[in-house]
């Protein structure tokens, strides 16, 4: 069969009961992919939808499916189907308005941007955490000032995380060196929190256990109050200033 108006601007198909294509118009050739079966014109996920509705053998209006264009791209289309008395199915393909595609592309873009931002924030957070760790590590250097003495000036606040970190580096360094005295200097310490202090107490005990003499210098009066609450405070030697600490080591009998 042929269509009465071959220049009809929308793709038209005539199909038999087996859904084989009997004839097509020029617009169909121009815009759609070709096939023996009508179902081949649709992407795999849409085929069953087309088939289910064709099997009704009744008129179907605006059946939305994804068709394949002559260039192989996906086309969102509406199908209009009707059946003649001779069991010929006539189908018109109407392309969907691009507005939907535009809006959904816009939505996609927004979502991607949110995901990217999220991802960037995550990366920034990781960097910040690493910096903080590095900062903590650097804020308690182990400085050997003579064969027998080492100085550990602590910078910034003393909280539990920092005292843990200090404990880790200090015990390692002290173990590998020949020092007998460790001066821990608090001159540059701002706040001390209670947990940081009890972590620090453990550290001091540990150092004393491996036979080191611990001197604490540069305590601020407000720190001194905190320290007095600690049990082991009596075994730690407190010195007013770093200068006195160094002098006491230098003058101490070898």
């Amino acid at each position: 069969m042929s269509f009465p108006n071959s220049s009809f601007p929308l793709p038209m198909y005539a199909i038999n009961k087996e859904f084989e294509i009997i004839s097509v118009n020029q617009s169909a050739i121009n815009t759609m992919t070709s096939g023996v079966s009508f179902l081949e014109l649709f992407e795999t996920e849409s085929r069953s939808k087309v088939e289910t509705h064709l099997r009704l053998f009744t008129a179907v209006e605006s059946l939305e499916v994804n068709a394949i264009s002559s260039s192989g791209a996906l086309l969102l289309v509406d199908l209009y189907i009707s059946w003649t008395e001779e069991d010929i199915g006539e189908v018109i393909v109407v392309r969907k308005d691009d507005a939907i595609a535009r809006v959904s592309a816009q939505l996609d873009k927004l979502r991607t941007r949110l995901a990217d931002t999220n991802f960037e924030l995550l990366t920034a957070k990781e960097t910040a955490e690493n910096l903080l760790k590095e900062n903590i590590k650097l804020s308690s250097p182990f400085v050997e000032i003579s064969e027998t003495a080492a100085l550990v000036p602590i910078f910034g606040e003393l909280d539990s995380e920092k005292s843990d970190r200090i404990a880790l580096t200090l015990t390692q360094r002290a173990y590998n060196s020949t020092v007998e005295y460790v001066i821990i200097d608090f001159t540059a310490v701002g706040e001390i929190d209670q947990q940081g202090l009890s972590g620090f107490e453990k550290l001091v005990n540990m150092l004393q256990l491996v036979g080191l003499t611990v001197l604490v210098s540069g305590l601020h009066p407000k720190h001194a109050k905190e320290w007095s609450t600690l049990e082991s405070a009596s075994t730690i030697k407190f010195v007013n200033s770093l200068r006195l600490a160094v002098e006491s080591i230098v003058n101490s009998p070898k």
Binding site: T44, E45, K49, L63, E64, L76, I100, S104, D108, A115
Partner: protein, 220 residues
């Protein structure tokens, strides 16, 4: 639960995010992520797919429903205080090149987070080349990818081959509707690929692999 899911699907289709969240709070008896994702959101989205197949709704409706569902997940994840990743294990998730379906993937990322894995969610339609670069740079223990449509299978296979043979030999998880059809996996990367058709499967697997020190390689 099925009735609840259908009702929720209708709220998604109406674009009513507030009502959807309120409804979830009403029917979800306990604060259970797996129940929300597996018994409410997934069936709701499957129902929406069926509505399209029976020509009751259009693609535009589907997009709106997906956006609302996405929002609901983000909202839930924001509210449930996520644990800091204490786990040593790292997972990277993405949808294979060309694949635009991502809701399942996003939910899988949240499940990993619940098990306090270190998670990188790279979203849908990630070009394979980028995925490979990311795997080489970050060296995840697990790479989870998903595909929903059958014509993504060749791309899925290629992705498995490329990513499984990267330097640190990650375990590959395949999720999404194509997970049960990934028969090629055993041949593409022997002993390295696990099919994970549902979030419950993932949950169970994470429960097990959390106890073992080594991740077990099984193909279901």
């Amino acid at each position: 639960m099925q009735n609840h899911a259908i009702k929720l699907a209708n709220l998604f289709l109406h674009g009513d995010d507030h009502a959807a969240i309120a409804y979830i709070n009403e029917v979800l008896l306990e604060n259970n992520r797996l129940m929300l994702y597996e018994d409410l959101l997934t069936p709701a989205m499957i129902h929406i797919g069926k509505l399209w197949e029976t020509n009751k709704i259009s693609v535009a409706d589907e997009h709106l429903a997906t956006a609302i569902c996405d929002y609901v997940i983000s909202d839930y994840e924001f509210r449930s205080a996520s644990l800091e990743p204490t786990h040593q294990k790292k997972v990277m998730l993405f949808g294979v090149e060309g694949e635009e379906h991502y809701i399942g993937l996003k939910m899988a990322a949240a499940v990993f987070q619940e098990f306090s894995w270190s998670v990188r969610y790279l979203g849908p339609n990630l070009p394979l080349q980028h995925a490979e670069t990311a795997v080489n740079a970050w060296k995840p223990d697990v790479v989870a990818m998903s595909a929903a449509l059958s014509y993504r299978l060749p791309m899925l296979k290629k992705s498995v081959q490329v990513l499984a043979s990267t330097e640190n030999k990650p375990t590959i998880l395949i999720g999404g509707r194509m997970a049960p059809h990934a028969n090629f996996a055993e041949e593409a990367a022997p002993g390295q690929v696990i099919s994970m058709p549902t979030l419950r499967n993932l949950h169970e697997w994470l429960n097990h692999s959390g106890k073992d020190t080594e991740i077990r390689h099984v193909i279901s």
